[in-house]
């Protein structure tokens, strides 16, 4: 009824291959962007921006990284946390060496380091498939975790073993460190994520993205159609790790402010994988939906469950128990989604859109 494409004819292939071929979608996306860039910073307070929106964006970006590898190229990875760590440590070392350079330069450059590491650990994927990659990416995870502890140079020989984010500027505005405002950090983070999402969607809809999906769907046929597995797989590892690295740098510099190895441990790899599964393998929108659910659900449960249980039952629940409850719920959601809708929230969203399109008629 309200969501109609009737009368919108596409007269060129260019219009037909546009990302938002329907006018309403195009308007919606600008509308959302306006809300994200203007309304949220104005009305969201320090807590909402700093503790909910920024981590949400960071995780969404990391989920895009993992989705490129797992959802689009079919190569499973449990090393996401460590690749994020490589980005964070690289950014830290670079900005200590060159304090005057715009921090945004280093945030992007840090992705290059994790891309290199990602390619290295992606090399076995040329010879092996499927579950074996679980082992090699776990090798990356555990080896890098070890390196983050045992190589003191990485954290500048701090006694705490942690990296502490110094104050840095971009274009004359303080972006990182204790005195950077939540609004600025949020806007910087949002800008980076929006630009990188746009790049990702471009790559995916072009030749390179198609060659990734060919490898995912039928690697032998892909090779016989002229896709070189070497290039396709390693480029997927590189791009994926690049995104994870930038997400790691954003995580430490714009959100946590300080981090040690626990911030990049293998639990984070799982968390990101869950976002991708729940949101939808092979969907960029799904990365945002998955990150929203997995990041925001525990926040809500932590805030609401203890008082509810307190008033309704004789039991008392601590906030750490509430976290466990949300973990169980996430686990159950994963299983339920895999059974009911393996394409995740993104597919549900598409179904709702289809229903809206034909409403009030069933077909």
């Amino acid at each position: 009824m309200f969501y109609r494409e009737a009368g919108q004819y596409k007269t060129t292939y260019e219009a037909d291959s546009a990302k938002f071929p329907i006018l309403q979608d195009k308007l919606f996306i600008w509308f959302y962007l306006a809300i994200a860039f203007i309304v949220i910073p104005l009305i969201g307070g320090e807590f909402f921006l700093g503790a909910i929106m920024i981590p949400f964006l960071v995780f969404a970006l990391a989920a895009i990284g993992l989705n490129i590898l797992t959802g689009y190229t079919g190569q499973i990875s449990l090393g996401t946390g460590a690749f994020m760590g490589v980005g964070a440590y690289a950014c830290y070392k670079m900005t200590l060496a060159f304090p005057d350079v715009n921090i945004l330069v280093f945030i992007f450059a840090s992705g290059i380091f994790s891309a290199l590491v990602g390619v290295f650990f992606g090399l076995p994927s040329l010879r092996i498939k499927g579950f074996y990659l679980v082992v090699t990416t776990l090798a990356a995870q555990f080896f890098l975790e070890w390196a983050f502890i045992r190589i003191p140079w990485l954290y500048n020989y701090n006694d705490s073993g942690a990296i502490e984010v110094p104050q840095r500027e971009a274009f004359g505005v303080i972006v990182t460190g204790a005195s950077a405002s939540a609004e600025v950090r949020y806007l910087v983070c949002l800008t980076v994520v929006v630009i990188m999402t746009w790049f990702a969607s471009n790559i995916i809809s072009g030749r390179i993205g198609r060659s990734w999906m060919m490898i995912r769907d039928m690697d032998i046929a892909a090779e016989l159609m002229g896709v070189r597995p070497l290039y396709a797989k390693l480029s997927a590892f590189a791009v994926s790790s690049f995104y994870c690295g930038v997400a790691g740098a954003l995580m430490v510099f714009l959100w946590l402010g300080a981090a040690e190895v626990e911030s990049f441990d293998y639990n984070h790899s799982f968390e990101i994988l869950f976002m991708v599964i729940l949101g939808g393998l092979g969907s960029l929108l799904g990365c945002f939906l998955g990150a929203a659910v997995i990041w925001i659900l525990p926040v809500i449960i932590r805030a609401w469950l203890p008082p509810i249980v307190d008033t309704l039952t004789p039991f008392i629940i601590t906030s750490s128990q509430a976290d466990l409850v949300s973990d169980i719920m996430i686990g159950v959601m994963i299983v339920v989604f895999l059974i009911m809708e393996p394409h995740g929230l993104a597919r549900l969203w598409a179904i709702i859109k289809q229903k809206l399109r034909v409403w009030p008629f069933p077909y």
Partner: protein, 319 residues
């Protein structure tokens, strides 16, 4: 040059000079190797029978041990607690097969694998919620497992054998032998091997897939409980064990996903390898702590050389 000497000369000099240290390390490697084999065996059972790569095997080890200790904490005698724990593992096997595996039958492997990661998460959080997250002591003595140690003098030093380690090696060997007998001599075992060979064909001769799957998940649960008891007797029952249990994955890579002898040999290689490497190379050159990744890196290098594992058959791809 100094580094080359550190890598190629000094470790062997130390080995020669201190044979007791070498023997002690080998023994410890052997014990942890048997336990890795045991955990890997749980993976192999499920993978062979259903093609599911059960990521939850590691947490099942922790969960089984936790349940045992938890039930015992209520004042239940140890042997009864073991039986009740087996009941819990049977229930878990039944639930997992009924609720998760059956609806996902014929889905791509990767989906099944991810569902076991979901199960892992549920078990981790559920276990902590029910039993609490703090480490607990295993009820070693109540179960009649030996404690204490024996010494053995070698070349001027002594090698210490913990009795629990000896018991662990013996029990692991007995369990593996028992399983081998079960699969080769019983009707259920034969049905199971039929399913492993070809689902469709097994179905068509009237074997119930669901029954077989419950049996293997339960068998994997028994293996997990055994591994959990033996391991926790050496340290404690804690969720940190789960990370250790993940080392069964590189073991599988070395041994091949479907080979029981492979799991045993792979486990021993990893067990010996990581202990020796850390003592003679890891600590002097890399600052120690290499046990966390050694197994995985070995598996990675091995995969580059021989992707099908030590005992796996080379796959001929058809199209």
């Amino acid at each position: 040059m100094e580094l080359l000497k550190q890598i190629f000369v000094e470790p062997f000099e130390v080995m020669y000079a201190l044979p007791d240290l070498l023997l002690q390390t080998l023994w410890e490697g052997f014990v942890s190797g048997t336990l890795y084999s045991l955990i890997a065996l749980g993976f192999v059972l499920i993978f062979k029978a259903s093609g599911v790569f059960n990521f939850a095997q590691g947490i099942m080890v922790v969960f089984a041990a936790l349940t045992l200790v938890g039930i015992h904490a209520f004042g239940v005698p140890a042997f009864l607690a073991v039986i009740l724990t087996l009941g819990v593992m049977a229930l878990l096997a039944f639930t997992v097969v009924r609720v998760v595996m059956k609806p996902l039958v014929n889905q791509p492997d990767i989906i099944l694998f991810m569902s076991t990661i979901g199960i892992t998460f549920i078990l981790i959080a559920g276990g902590q919620l029910i039993f609490g997250g703090e480490p607990k002591a295993m009820i070693t003595e109540e179960l009649g497992l030996p404690t204490g140690a024996s010494d053995w003098e070698v070349g001027g030093g002594i090698v210490i054998f913990q009795h629990i380690d000896i018991a662990a090696a013996v029990i692991a060997a007995l369990l593996i032998a028992g399983l081998a007998l079960f699969f080769n001599k019983t009707k259920t075992g034969r049905a199971l091997r039929a399913v492993a060979d070809d689902h469709q064909a097994a179905l068509s001769v009237g074997i119930s897939l669901e029954y077989i799957w419950v049996v293997v998940w339960f068998a994997a649960g028994v293996v997990a409980l055994t591994a959990g008891i033996l391991w926790a007797a050496k340290s404690d029952v804690s969720f940190a064990l789960q990370v250790v249990a993940l080392k069964a994955l590189p073991v599988l890579v070395l041994g091949g996903f479907t080979s029981i002898p492979g799991a045993i040999v792979g486990g021993l290689i990893i067990g010996f390898g990581e202990k020796l490497f850390d003592l003679y190379w890891g600590v002097p050159i890399l600052g120690g702590g290499t046990e966390s990744w050694f197994a995985f890196i070995i598996a990675l290098l091995f995969l580059l050389y021989r992707p099908e594992g030590l005992f796996g058959e080379k796959l001929i791809e058809r199209i």
